[in-house]
Symmetry: C2
Subunit: 369 residues, 2 copies
């Protein structure tokens, strides 16, 4: 049974530069199968959310270039529920526009925004966390779901819990006292032991009106632009001109900064502890870990028709070019083989892939980005 | 001025499995430019030998499949000087057939056999070594040119010098007391200090008749087959049937074992110290070394249109597929990128490439060999 009055929003935006050359401008991370599940991360996300909000109550915000791919992935997505961006303007604009459109269509609606390209397992635990978050949203909070850490990860931001909140219909809701950027290992170890820090998974659940009110307070111009755009949205005559006029003027800012952190400071942010498994698959090191179930010394192979011959090697091979790939004596290696670009690095250097993408762009190699 | 009565023979046979996937059955090592010289090793070899024997006095022994490529590389090669093998039967058959054909055409001729796929620099030093070897050949010896070691190499066989021989017209000729297989590092260090051991470069210079006499003594059946084949060779009516009948029956054995070692044991092998630079480019570790001039920490890039973006990486990249190749934080790496096969290994494991080729063959992946 879907949750009453709840709408899912899937911002499907980021390219996933750290997963280049697998992820590309025209084939971003959410359009890949990174788990061997046989379907894309976007479809996985849909399959997780549709039962919670109902199939007719899932909105996807994506770039115009991805329209066909998204519709092919999600045949049940309603025509009115695909919001196309003429250019990327970060998560506040994407989620804020969805909130403004949905609030107009259905005043009082609670929306939950969930990235299109994260990996989650434990659907029942996920649903129960969302249900608590929706209860908190009905109580007027902006709610986020933080992930209970299973190791002292240094690659994620953390949410610091600040005491229990009484919320009707929810099992456990806590206040957020602070957001913390990626910590060092010692700090991460302390967080893990202390038990009051959760991984920030970028999931936000709130009444659309609450979100918009918060935004009106912190970013009044951006808020005004989004509301104006939403008013024009559902009329085919007015939408195009409004998009052309307003969208390019909107401030680019992550919703973490425009809404979540100010709301936390004002005591309006609530957090629910998620006990499901979650990974944002931020780079090839995470991808390798995910696909070897964390066993070091193993070699993960991604690719339907991979022809890999490996001798005394570990790490990950992503095969997208139907070539024979032979590895000999290379450990924690990352090999990503695509028709026009090849990456060879190690897990240790996985975060530096983004710098290479930037260098390729500056060096005039945008054809492979 | 060419040397009197001297004929060059270039056996162009081996695939160079340790250089897979660059070297292939249909594109063996000698058809590659491995030095960035802009031409193939075969053409380099021709350019070195043609001035010594004369352009009309260079014979190439190669596989039927390589005829067109060899002729394209060597437009000055005389039609009668390309000897095509219907199948590979090792170096005794290849060089022995050349010797038998040339002895028949020009009794008393001195032949010198030089691999098609070695890298040599110092043409004047090379020529002077060949001149001494030809003098030794006229004096009845089978002569070899050993390379004066510049480091304690463990990847080569060694020739042990056994005292000076008096040879008219030669500066310095020595007896060979022994052949030694690839030594361990301590032994190689002793050889380097002692000064009596030379690298075995597989160069043999002798009167064709001397070679054939030695072979008649050690391998009478093989000798008989080669002589019979040579008698039929220069008549287009008799050649084909003789090849079909005799060639497949010839024993496969390296000339080192059939001729050189027995001749050394019998005191008929002479050695000339070569002071030129030589490398057999036996694997990707040597190729990397050759192309970085031995400087560790550097990255060698082979490929006319290579698009390589490397960050904190060293080793070698061979680019044959026109793709962008990005390396991050990989050291002593070997990346060989071809349209249908990719190899990733390290210099340390370069010798194991041959085992991978064997595994691919057994595994039914001969399409990429």
């Amino acid at each position: 049974m879907p949750l009453d009055g709840f709408y899912s929003v899937i911002p499907a935006g980021g390219v996933g530069s750290r997963l280049w050359p697998l992820s590309r401008a025209d084939a971003p991370k959410f359009l890949h199968d990174l788990t061997g599940s046989g379907q894309t991360l976007l479809k996985d996300t849909w399959d997780r959310l549709a039962p919670i909000s109902g199939e007719q109550r899932v909105m996807v915000v994506t770039g115009r270039a991805h329209r066909a791919a998204v519709e092919a992935q999600l045949p049940a997505l309603a025509d009115t529920n695909i919001v196309l961006e003429s250019e990327p303007r970060d998560s506040t604009a994407a989620i804020g526009l969805a909130a403004a459109i949905l609030e107009r269509r259905e005043p009082g609606v609670v929306i939950g925004s969930f990235a299109a390209d994260h990996v989650i397992s434990g659907d029942a635990l996920f649903r129960s966390a969302v249900a608590d978050a929706v209860a908190a949203a009905h109580a007027g909070y902006i709610a986020t779901i933080g992930i209970t850490p299973t190791e002292p990860a240094v690659g994620f931001g953390y949410i610091e819990c600040g005491g229990t909140l009484e919320v009707e219909g929810a099992e456990r809701v806590e206040a957020v006292s602070n957001f913390v950027e990626k910590p060092d290992l010692d700090t991460a170890r302390r967080y893990l032991e202390g038990g009051d820090h959760l991984w920030n998974a970028g999931m936000f659940i709130a009444k659309a009106s609450t979100l918009l009110e918060e935004l009106a307070r912190t970013k009044p111009e951006l808020h005004a632009g989004l509301v104006e755009l939403a008013e024009a949205w559902d009329d085919p005559v007015t939408r195009g001109p409004a998009v052309d006029r307003i969208w390019p003027t909107l401030e680019k800012i992550a919703i973490d900064y425009s809404v979540a952190e100010p709301a936390a400071a004002a005591g309006r942010l609530a957090v629910i502890r998620g006990h499901f498994q979650w990974d944002d698959v931020g780079d090839f090191a995470s991808l390798a870990k995910l696909n070897t179930a964390g066993r070091s010394g193993e070699l993960a192979i991604l690719g339907d028709n991979a022809r890999v011959l490996a001798d005394a090697s570990s790490g990950i091979v992503v095969s997208r070019a139907n070539r024979v790939i032979s590895l000999i004596g290379v450990h924690d290696i990352v090999v990503v083989d695509t028709p026009d670009a090849l990456l060879v690095t190690t897990s240790e250097h996985a975060q530096r892939v983004k710098a290479v993408v930037d260098a390729l762009r500056l060096g005039g190699s945008s054809d492979v980005l």
